[in-house]
């Protein structure tokens, strides 16, 4: 399990080693053909900033070589905002006085109709963590309903047991995303004081359980800004490297959620600037040329328009982050604020303008039938 490997590392030492990297180390890292974790740390370090344009150029070339001139499109479908956890930064946190909602089968179908109308074939199902109301019973009941409308179904829900992931895999779920939020054990605890999510180690070992269940794609990420984003990214890179060796039949994707304002939330501890986010995305590509890099609608229009060419391989568009947001209850409270409100068709046009093919379908139910 990753937790044993993780325990060999010390947050403060990692932090220190990133912030003392020199531009020479970053240059050396840049011109290597195979890059190590130390190289990744050099590339995300403050010292590497003067190399940003070169990094961007190389990331652009590497990404096109592996993924072609294509960008995949997906949409989140929020099924529920019920949650037993307290997360200091999240709109769905238990202590937030908001109306709670879990979609019924009928409501899910209404939402799906809107997503299908938008052209979506890939969907990401999102929930909070309310084990009894929105647990495996709910998922196994709703999945067959959802699955027949999409070529690819991904889930971003509470951590589950290996057996549950096996069930989801058998039901045709393609990808599972679970973000560690932060790899700083103590600060993790202070941001997650209550609920099942308070168990740092259980969450840390979740991607192992997903991998053991044979899920095709595993999504990782840290909530950038919750703690030092560089150190968290270095740990995410270690996590990826560890998982890739063990679960060699799975693909991986990395997301870059930046801590955003929500109703009554945490102030980011470290702000990651636009420039630094570009640096981070390029560094990821140079570290791993076939990991998928995903960008949500948390980011603003002009940033998203330009990032298409720099290493990102999939983006969402027209997203609603409230259950029922597409059709059932468009006015309810969102999990986080959307900065890019353009429609999927407008985003597809932007992608085409950049010389890329917007890909709506890149999986098929037939490919994972046992």
């Amino acid at each position: 399990m990753f937790s044993e490997y993780f325990n060999q590392f010390d947050w403060d030492k990692e932090y220190h080693s990133i912030y003392t990297k020199t531009i020479q180390e970053a240059e050396t890292a840049l011109f290597k053909s195979h890059r190590t974790i130390e190289d990744f740390k050099a590339l995300i370090s403050p010292a590497a900033m003067p190399l940003l344009e070169q990094m961007a150029e190389m990331s652009h070339v590497e990404t096109q070589k592996r993924f072609g001139k294509t960008i995949q499109l997906y949409a989140p479908l929020y099924l529920s905002n019920e949650c037993q956890n307290i997360c200091t930064y999240c709109g769905f946190s238990l202590d937030n006085q908001i109306p709670r909602k879990t979609l019924t089968a009928l409501e899910i179908l209404q939402e799906i109709a809107v997503l299908k109308e938008m052209g979506y074939q890939h969907v990401l199902l999102v929930t909070g963590e309310a084990q009894h109301r929105v647990g495996m019973d709910y998922f196994t009941q709703m999945l067959p309903l959802i699955k027949k409308h999409f070529a690819q179904v991904a889930m971003e829900v509470q951590p589950l047991e290996r057996m549950d992931y096996e069930t989801l895999h058998d039901m045709g779920v393609h990808a599972i995303l679970v973000y560690q939020e932060t790899y700083h054990r103590e600060h993790y605890k202070s941001h997650h004081p209550r609920g099942k999510k308070a168990n740092f180690t259980y969450r840390l070992e979740t991607p192992d359980r997903i991998g053991q269940a044979g899920i095709h794609k595993i999504g990782l990420g840290a909530l950038l800004g919750l703690d030092d984003w560089r150190t968290d990214s270095a740990f995410t890179a270690r996590h990826l490297q560890y998982l890739e060796k063990r679960y060699w039949q799975s693909k991986f994707s990395i997301s870059f959620p930046r801590l955003r304002p929500h109703s009554g939330g945490t102030v980011p501890k470290s702000i990651i600037t636009d420039r630094e986010l570009v640096q981070l995305i390029c560094a990821w590509r140079l570290f791993n040329n076939d990991v998928e890099l995903s960008m949500s609608t948390r980011e603003c229009e002009s940033f998203r328009d330009h990032i298409i060419k720099l290493g990102i391989t999939s983006i969402s568009a027209g997203s609603k982050t409230n259950p029922g947001g597409y059709a059932v209850a468009p006015e309810s409270l969102e999990q986080f604020e959307i900065d890019d409100n353009r429609t999927p068709q407008e985003i597809a046009a932007v992608i085409q303008q950049a010389g890329y093919d917007p890909v709506w379908k890149d999986w098929d139910e037939a490919l994972q039938t046992h």
Binding site: G68, W248, Y356, D357, L367
Partner: protein, 259 residues
């Protein structure tokens, strides 16, 4: 003019096979494929819209009399998954031709020799014209031949790597031993690599990434077309043997003439 190539019951005048992935737009793809002169184009089932009775946009752009479609099973991990996907592809594209691809490792997309052989055997029995993507392993290629595949498609280098014929000494053995056409697939990054494969005696090459991700895919398609033709022409014309040293004098045996 170069000799035509026969695979199963089809005659190809072009020995450049292509793919449809990674292009910046469907229009550029269509133009590039037409310029390449390619007559066999592989299409991933995962990218095709074959449900809900909607016409597939990609397929509409491939609807040209000279282009034969070669559906592939990219994405499957096992023989059973490949067999299921193959049947769906046959139904959707109305062809029994199949590029069998089983790469359980999504990182380097290395073909699984064990699952590929298993699937090939079953699919041939089911009436498919099977062209398996495989490692450049001469023994595996013989086994594939024995179960009845229509051609073998050994890799030149990891797929999408543009590294050229890294496996050339194995490819030479495969070509020498083969009783079915050998199509070098994967790793061909430059027209010179394609020419090299053809000079070596490969029956065809399959090129996708190098064309699709070029700055000007249409021009690159033409460059590959010319390179494949030049390489094949040279092979048919009979290349002179490669000399590793000069042979003007015979220092070790010249004494014989004075005896």
């Amino acid at each position: 003019m170069i000799q035509a190539l026969k695979i199963a019951d089809k005659i190809f005048s072009s020995r450049l096979f292509t793919g449809t992935g990674k292009f910046g737009s469907i229009a550029v793809m269509e133009e590039s494929l037409l310029i390449s002169g390619s007559e066999l184009v592989t299409v991933a089932l995962r990218r095709m819209e074959h449900q809900h009775g909607k016409p597939d946009n990609l397929l509409q752009h491939l609807d040209h009399p000279q282009i034969h479609l070669l559906p592939n099973t990219s994405g499957v991990r096992t023989a059973n998954e490949a067999i299921y996907a193959a049947q769906l592809a046959r139904e959707a594209l109305e062809t029994n031709w199949l590029k069998l691809e089983i790469h359980p490792d999504p990182k380097y997309l290395m073909p699984d020799p064990i699952e590929t052989l298993k699937a090939a055997e079953t699919l041939v029995k089911m009436g498919f014209i099977v062209l398996p993507y495989c490692s450049a392993d001469p023994v595996l290629c013989k086994h594939l031949e024995q179960v009845g595949v229509a051609a073998v498609m050994p890799l030149g280098a990891p797929i999408g790597s543009n590294q050229g014929l890294q496996t050339s000494s194995m490819l030479e053995i495969i070509i020498q031993q083969a009783t079915v056409p050998v199509v070098v697939d994967a790793g061909i990054g430059a027209p010179s690599h394609a020419a090299q494969a053809m000079e070596m005696g490969a029956d065809a090459v399959l090129v996708n990434t190098a064309i699709a991700t070029a700055h000007q895919p249409q021009t690159m398609a033409l460059a590959f077309k010319n390179a494949v033709e030049a390489g094949r022409m040279a092979y048919e014309a009979g290349l002179g043997p490669t000399q590793h040293h000069a042979s003007a004098s015979s220092p070790l045996t010249s004494f014989l003439s004075s005896l």
